[in-house]
Subunit: 333 residues, 4 copies
């Protein structure tokens, strides 16, 4: 299943080292003006080139993989959009406007270096999906993880931007940010913490918090379509995400009902109650780091991998959390 | 959306104080022998009459609502099953066998006392879904929460039992249990802890852990149908559930990749890797307790509510977690 | 797949000789007043007790099976509805009103006489689905066709009535009628024609025409969800239906574009254009008639079957065509 | 809804005069060898360059639109496939093999001449969907019909070829052919008949018959997923299709049960019975022909349209009928 959503249906495609990654977004109403600026900015965040950390840091200092830094994600629009001056007199946003038909787009894989992954043809990386893919499909695109690569999330970010734009027109805003890196909870120290792990050839997990404002009362449903279930489904589909919690979450377990029964987390009985929704999700550290590989005594792998991974994937997950949240919410409009 | 699953599709129906609750389970293959014993036992656990706590405790001592204790859940089968001796020579389980057609069943609401809820006609309970229901639908079955009542989960337990039986035939087992009540992690003290909160007119949250064994490698999918996303979706649809985590979970955030990168939690890249899957989910305390209501100074409400609520809903959630897990997994067979 | 529709999802259940037939209708908005009179009348038509033919004819004279004539279809409502005086001040229709939750209902099988079908335990009827059922499921409820029996359509008629009521509130009406029986196209002679075939121990096919008025421009969709495709899917799911055509239909094949290009049949490019939609569907004759069985030299079967079948099933298909059309259209509201 | 199918899900995208048409086919198992030859041949048939009529006829003589004749449909594969020598030792078909991930492909619109359609910006064509599109979406890609153009079916043909290849591996074959043009039923005279209408500046309808062989017993389902309903849904979604019938069809209405009750059309109770399935579908004539436009006295339109339309669209519908049939059947594997 490579599709998400019943009303706005996003179908994702693309191997990380094939011709392109991309998607088709079906169900977008006609007449939505697309903000290419927002898409460019969110793709930059996802690629780690603009990661919302210490702005004085540059490139590799932020713990981001070099491929991500090198490869500009240029979106090519194949269908479903038209230059606004062709069809509408609304000049407020000159640019692309949706036609109400499926919107297909792609991002070419420019820095695909299959030769870097040649050694993977007959090796499975620890903590990666290489082995289960081969077991499941009997065949595997060994070039950099194929579909399992986080590069697939670029398409989600593009689709999520359209969803966010639609939500914003209805007064609904989504804001995600990193709130914890390892044990560190002070944002001012996140960049430093990540840098320390990276220097050590290691990686570390993080927690992303997401806030939804302006959602009308009544969003969601009472049984299987509870709003929290839909959000969990969307967010838990992001690579490396290990948990989802909202409202009183796991911490609330120690508090009696008389103390916390007024905390709804924005949702009552599966349905939004008009207050702010806050949820958190946790991302595990990248498994293939130099230090980890040294432990495995796999020197062959060591050198190449150093340059190809993130020290804290939670950083780059932030725009993806927003995108998946937007795609989950837009189904209810 | 009152249906769950694409292959085994369970459609739930029923208000807590209407004629009946029940469901239709479509997609079950022909020839499955139904264990009525398992269904009876799981319904007893869900009702709180046999809650896997201190076996010396009886009834109200276990913190269970009196209605649950009083009302035997008798399943009436409407379709999709036949006495096995009519159609098959397999005598290993004399009893009901499935026909491959939709299985409809109902459980009558015998202890429905709408008059107990008369005061709710014009009142919304704190921490309950009363208000958002009325805002969403414009109309509301005020008699005890209607669809929002946890009584709806009885149908899920019946459907889940069929799914568990099918899974067990394939060597897949599911076992959930309570692992934390408030701050208490020693199972020997759970009953005592709950009793203390109940005595105080209060309620408390709990954590349920679920283990899945025997799941073949390759279950799940790489993108939106990641196994963890499907499990989270299933489990977060249970009333009062506030969070879901697997593998290294939220606790893992403080550990570097070099230390925890071998912990898969049974899932790699969204696909089962053949090892045991372990996840946890947290349940908040019942919001409407005597103590909570005293704080609100709503004496009118106080008396009646004392007798109608659980001190720790996590206890009765255990069989529902198993049921929803089974319904999620059976889709992949 | 025993469910129909994405927005109003109707799930059908029940064997013809099990405990009951019925269904669950999910997605109906709260506040719809249910006309029990319409439901009763449509069920009478489906049962053949009030078949819109010559009103001077009674019972078996109309070619209807005796079981249908005997068995009153009483609907028992299990959920999703409430007496209107409980929740609303709107007194225009005292009676049942929907709650916005899934509506479950059943019709008990009172005249189920499994013993009449005992001989079928080891026999397959010509032109019936007995054999393929056994091949597909490995097991079979031999008692009167089980799910393959047209009795299953009673549930569709109930659900269709709710859909029709919702459509009528929007000014959309559906009217189906028999327009051909065998070669006969004069409605005044339909009853006579059927009676002749029945007297001869035979059966005959018929064509039902259906007209949809008041459908707003824009209903349907351009590609796979073309309105005509959805209608065809709905109608072709009715037992014994062999063909569907709209607008210029099959007859139009001989006319050049310059003559018939203005005939839209109410649909352009898959989307309603605001004009009346007219479609036709054809029903084959009942396969198991005394005459057919005599040909097969199966005297054993002969006697029992005489009393259990219709001479022209198209008569009783009329309300089912309306029901399925309503269920197809209500998805677009 | 621009997707078809639950197991093999084909999502279609593209405007006829935008950048490209194409699609994403999700659910194809890993390891299927793709026959690019079959795809090329079927696309040629769809384009009308190799239309299975009199082979002595060339190009415009066959009544095909000049754009179709000019524009070679080159498929560009974006994802989901890999050169077989990269991953498999099976050398039987050197070429593309599927990875089990979504297969995205596109066909560039090379002969898109929006300027030819400039006049359409403010005009609606009789018998076309121009007007309802604008009413439905409020916006319209006026350049040649946009999504309503039959060019969209090129993507269906590509996806259908993969489905056909999978079906053929299971011994299931699909063969469609033109069996009637206007009143003419002799295939030897079809080309001549079409040429006569074309010469007269007119157009004519046709009937396509499709035969399915080798389908295992048990394909389909008993209620809403009847095989005939799924086939009708698939085929009625093809542009200009006005009717679908199988087995005894509409003609059978005049025959009594005792005569035709043995004709199953390959389907009993919605389920394939192992015999050949035969169905027919009818296509209306192209509405915008010179003769038709002359009647409307719209001389301005006349000249341009002459060169842009087919005299008998049923010819080019043949491969699309096969493709949609294959996509419908492959869901059941």
């Amino acid at each position: 299943m490579n599709s998400f959503g019943e009303k706005w249906t996003f179908t994702s495609f693309g191997e990380s080292h094939g011709a392109a990654v991309g998607g088709v977004l079906d169900g977008v109403p006609a007449g939505l003006h697309i903000s290419l600026d927002m898409i460019r900015e969110e793709l930059e965040k996802r690629a780690g080139r603009k990661p919302n950390l210490d702005p004085s840091l540059k490139g590799r200092e932020t713990g981001v993989s070099p491929r991500a830094l090198r490869e500009p994600d240029e979106v090519e629009w194949l269908s479903g959009v038209i230059e606004s001056d062709e069809v509408t007199k609304d000049q407020r946003t000159k640019g692309l406007v949706t036609l109400g038909t499926p919107i297909a787009f792609l991002i070419r894989n420019k820095d695909a270096r299959p030769e870097d992954y040649e050694w993977l043809k007959h090796t499975y990386r620890v903590g990666h999906a290489d082995k289960v893919y081969e077991q499941k499909y009997g065949i595997r695109d060994w070039r950099g993880g194929g579909r399992a690569s986080a590069r697939e999330t670029a398409g989600r970010v593009v689709a999520g931007c359209l969803a966010k734009q639609q939500l914003e027109e209805k007064g609904i805003t989504i804001h995600a940010e990193l709130v914890q890196v390892g044990a560190e909870k002070d944002p001012a120290l996140f960049a430093e913490t990540i840098a320390a792990y990276q220097k050590d050839g290691d990686s570390i997990g993080g927690i992303v918090e997401c806030r939804i404002d302006g959602l009308p009362v009544g969003t969601g449903g009472p049984i299987f379509d509870k709003l929290q279930a839909q959000l969990a489904f969307a967010v838990m589909s992001i690579n490396a995400c290990k948990g989802f919690a909202y409202g009183t979450g796991f911490e609330g377990v120690t508090e009696p009902g008389s103390v916390i029964n007024h905390i709804s987390g924005g949702i009552a009985g599966g349905i939004s109650d008009g207050s702010e929704i806050v949820f958190r999700c946790v991302f595990k550290p990248t498994p293939t780091t130099p230090k980890a590989l040294k432990k495995l005594n796999d020197q062959r792998v060591n050198v190449k991998m150093v340059n190809r991974s993130d020290a804290c994937v939670a950083v780059r997950a932030v725009p993806v959390v927003e995108a998946m949240t937007a795609l989950a919410l837009v189904q209810f409009l």
